[in-house]
C-alpha cells in the first residue's frame, strides 16, 4: 500500500482544530488524533464540510476497553473521504459513568454503530435518537466486550457453564 502524504491530515488539521486535539500519532501511514470529548461533534462537522478534508463517509464507530487505566474506555471513529480518498482516525477517552456526545446529527450512519458500542461497552451517547442494545436482548446484564466480562459469560438458567457473578 502506498504511503500517503499525511501533512494535510496532520498539520493542517492540527492548526484548524487546535483546541480540540490532545495528541496525534502516525503509525503505518495511518493518522490518529486523540480529541477532547466535548469537541467531537464540531470536529466531525468541520471535517465533513471543509472542502479540503471532505470526510463525507463515516466508516465505523467502535469502542475499546483499557481496563485498569483512567479514563477506562476509548471511542474510535474512522472517517473516509470518497472524493479525496483519504482516511483519518479520531479517538476520545471516556471513563465509566461518563457520556459521549452522539455524532448522529452529523453522520446519520452513526446510529447503529453507536448502539453497538453502547451494547458492548455500556458507553452512553448523549443525543442519540434511539439508544438501545442492538445485538443482545434488552434484558441482558453486563457488557460483553469489557475486559472484566468473563469469556464464558455469567451463570444463569441458560448458561450453566458460566462464571458466578462477583458480588
Amino acid at each position: 500500500m502506498a504511503q500517503a502524504d499525511t501533512s494535510l491530515l496532520v498539520d493542517k488539521f492540527k492548526s484548524s482544530c487546535m483546541h480540540g486535539i490532545i495528541e496525534t500519532r502516525v503509525f503505518r501511514g495511518e493518522v490518529t488524533h486523540v480529541v477532547r470529548r466535548e469537541s467531537i461533534g464540531d470536529i466531525c462537522n468541520f471535517l465533513k464540510t471543509n472542502p479540503e478534508f471532505n470526510m463525507d463517509y463515516l466508516v465505523d464507530v467502535l469502542g475499546a476497553d483499557y481496563y485498569g487505566e483512567t479514563p477506562r474506555f476509548e471511542v474510535v471513529y474512522h472517517l473516509y473521504s470518497i472524493r479525496k480518498k483519504q482516511r483519518i482516525r479520531l479517538k476520545l477517552r471516556v471513563d465509566e459513568g461518563e457520556s459521549v456526545p452522539s455524532i448522529t446529527p452529523v453522520y446519520a450512519g452513526a446510529d447503529w454503530p453507536e448502539r453497538e458500542v453502547y451494547d458492548m461497552f455500556g458507553i452512553v451517547f448523549e443525543g442519540h435518537p434511539d439508544l438501545r442494545r442492538i445485538y443482545l436482548a434488552g434484558d441482558w446484564e453486563g457488557h460483553p466486550l469489557r475486559k472484566d466480562y468473563p469469556l464464558r459469560g455469567y451463570r444463569d438458567k441458560y448458561n450453566p457453564y458460566g462464571e458466578d457473578k462477583p458480588e
Binding site: 503505518r28 475499546a64 482516525r89 453522520y107 447503529w112
Partner: protein, 396 residues
C-alpha cells in the same frame, strides 16, 4: 368513499417479518408498521446470530482466528480471510511474495463470483423466479470445486494465512479456472435473458427501494449497493491493495439507485471479476507462496511426519503463535458486499488486544428503514435481497 373502502384503506397494522422467514436471508427480524399494504416504518432487529466473534478473537492467537473469519460472510469466505490476514500483515509490516499476491487476487475474485451468484439466485427466488437459483447454484458449484481443489474445503476455506496462502495454486487449479472462464460468460448472459425478459421480475425491481447518492453516503452504505446510486467508489481502484492496480478492469456505476441497478451492478461485477482472474492467471509468476519467515509460517505437513526439527517447529507455531508489534491498524478491502475492514489493537503479545470487524452487511442494513418507506410490503423482500445481507457477518 363508502364505509368499506375506508376500513380497507386506512387500517394500520404492525407485523413481524422473520426471524424465521424464507425471504429474510437468515435471521433478520423486521418490525413493519403498515398502513394498508404500504410501509410506514420498517425497523430491522438484528442479533439473532450474535456469537461474540470479537470477544473470541481477544482470546485466540493471531493465526487461530482465521477459521472464525470464514464464518462471517460464509458465502464468500476468501474475502474475509483476506481482510483479516492483510490487517495482521500490515501490523507486522511484512510484504508477501508476488506469487501469493496473484493467488490471493484469484481467490478473492472467485469468492466474489460465488457470492454474487448466490445473491442473484436467492434474490430471484424471493421474487418468484426459482429456476435462476438452481442455475446460479449450478455455476457456483464450479467455483466451489476450484476451492476444493485448492484447499480441500468448499465453504469454510481458511485458505489464506498470515504470510501467504496455505497450499500452492496447482496447474490443475489453473486449468479449472480457465475452464470456468469459458463456461461462465454464456451462463451469465443466459441469466440476463431470463431475468430481463421476465416483466414481473423487472417491474418488481425497477424504481423500488430508491436511495440517492447523498443519503446512501450519509447512512454508510457501501459496495455494489452504493455504486448503484452513482457513487464511483471501489477500494480496489481507489486504495489499491495486493496488486489490483496492475489489472485492467472497470467499476460499474448505476444511475437510479434502485433495486434494478443493484442487480445490473452485480452482474457486471461478475464479468469484471472474470477479467481480473484471466489477467492474474496470465501473469501468475513462479516462486514461493509464503514469506520466508519461520515464525509466521509452519513447515509443510508431510515434513512434520518425517523430520524432528520440523515437528518441533510445527509444535512451536501451533502452541505459541507469533508476537505482533505494539500498535493499531485499520485495513479494509472491497468485499462482495462492501467495505470489509479489520481494526486491530496490539499490545505486543501473541493475541490481539482488541479486534473490531467493520462488516458491510451491518452498515448496509441501516438503509432498509430509509429505502422501504412508502413502498409496498412485497417490495421489502426485493429491497432486502438487493442489499444481500448475510447474518453470519452482520451479527458477528
Amino acid at each position: 368513499m363508502n364505509e368499506r373502502d375506508d376500513i380497507i384503506a386506512t387500517q394500520g397494522i404492525t407485523i413481524h417479518m422473520g426471524p424465521q422467514h424464507p425471504s429474510t436471508h437468515g435471521v433478520l427480524h423486521l418490525v413493519l408498521d403498515l398502513q394498508g399494504e404500504k410501509i410506514v416504518r420498517a425497523e430491522p432487529d438484528i442479533g439473532y446470530l450474535h456469537r461474540g466473534t470479537e470477544k473470541i478473537a481477544e482470546n485466540l492467537l493471531y493465526h487461530q482466528f482465521v477459521p472464525y473469519t470464514d464464518r462471517l460472510d460464509y458465502m464468500c469466505a476468501m474475502s474475509n480471510n483476506l481482510a483479516y490476514v492483510q490487517a495482521v500483515e500490515k501490523l507486522l509490516g511484512i510484504e508477501i511474495t508476488e506469487r501469493a499476491k496473484h493467488i490471493r487476487v484469484i481467490a478473492a475474485e472467485l469468492s466474489r463470483i460465488a457470492g454474487h451468484l448466490m445473491a442473484i439466485g436467492a434474490w430471484a427466488l424471493d421474487l418468484g423466479a426459482m429456476s435462476i437459483l438452481l442455475y446460479a447454484v449450478r455455476e457456483r458449484e464450479i467455483v466451489l470445486d476450484i476451492f476444493e481443489m485448492l484447499c480441500g474445503a468448499r465453504m469454510t476455506l481458511s485458505y489464506l494465512r498470515v504470510g501467504g496462502v496455505r497450499y500452492d495454486f496447482t496447474d490443475g487449479c489453473k486449468e479449472a479456472c480457465e475452464k470456468m472462464l469459458e463456461i461462465l460468460p454464456g451462463r451469465i448472459s443466459e441469466y440476463e435473458r431470463i431475468l430481463l425478459g421476465n416483466r414481473v421480475w423487472v417491474d418488481r425491481n425497477r424504481g423500488v427501494g430508491v436511495i440517492s447518492a447523498e443519503e446512501a453516503i450519509n447512512l454508510g452504505l457501501s459496495g455494489p449497493a452504493l455504486r448503484a446510486s452513482g457513487v464511483k467508489w471501489d477500494i480496489r481502484k481507489d486504495e489499491p491493495y495486493l496488486i489490483y492496480d496492475r489489472f485492467d478492469f472497470d467499476v460499474p456505476v448505476g444511475t437510479n439507485g434502485d433495486c434494478f441497478d443493484r442487480y445490473v451492478i452485480r452482474i457486471e461485477e461478475i464479468k469484471q471479476s472474470m477479467r481480473i482472474i484471466r489477467q492474474a492467471l496470465r501473469d501468475l509468476p513462479e516462486g514461493p507462496f509464503n514469506v520466508d519467515m519461520p515464525e509466521l509460517v509452519p513447515p509443510p505437513k508431510p515434513d512434520v511426519y518425517n523430520n524432528m526439527e520440523n515437528l518441533i517447529h510445527h509444535f512451536k507455531y501451533v502452541s505459541h503463535g507469533f508476537k505482533v508489534p505494539k500498535g493499531e491498524v485499520y485495513s479494509s478491502i472491497e468485499a462482495p458486499k462492501g467495505e470489509l475492514g479489520v481494526y486491530i489493537v496490539s499490545d505486543g503479545s501473541e493475541k490481539p488486544y482488541r479486534l473490531k470487524l467493520r462488516v458491510p452487511s451491518f452498515h448496509n442494513l441501516q438503509t432498509v428503514r430509509h429505502m422501504s418507506k412508502g413502498m409496498y410490503l412485497a417490495d421489502v423482500v426485493a429491497i432486502i435481497s438487493s442489499l444481500d445481507p448475510v447474518f453470519g457477518e452482520c451479527d458477528k
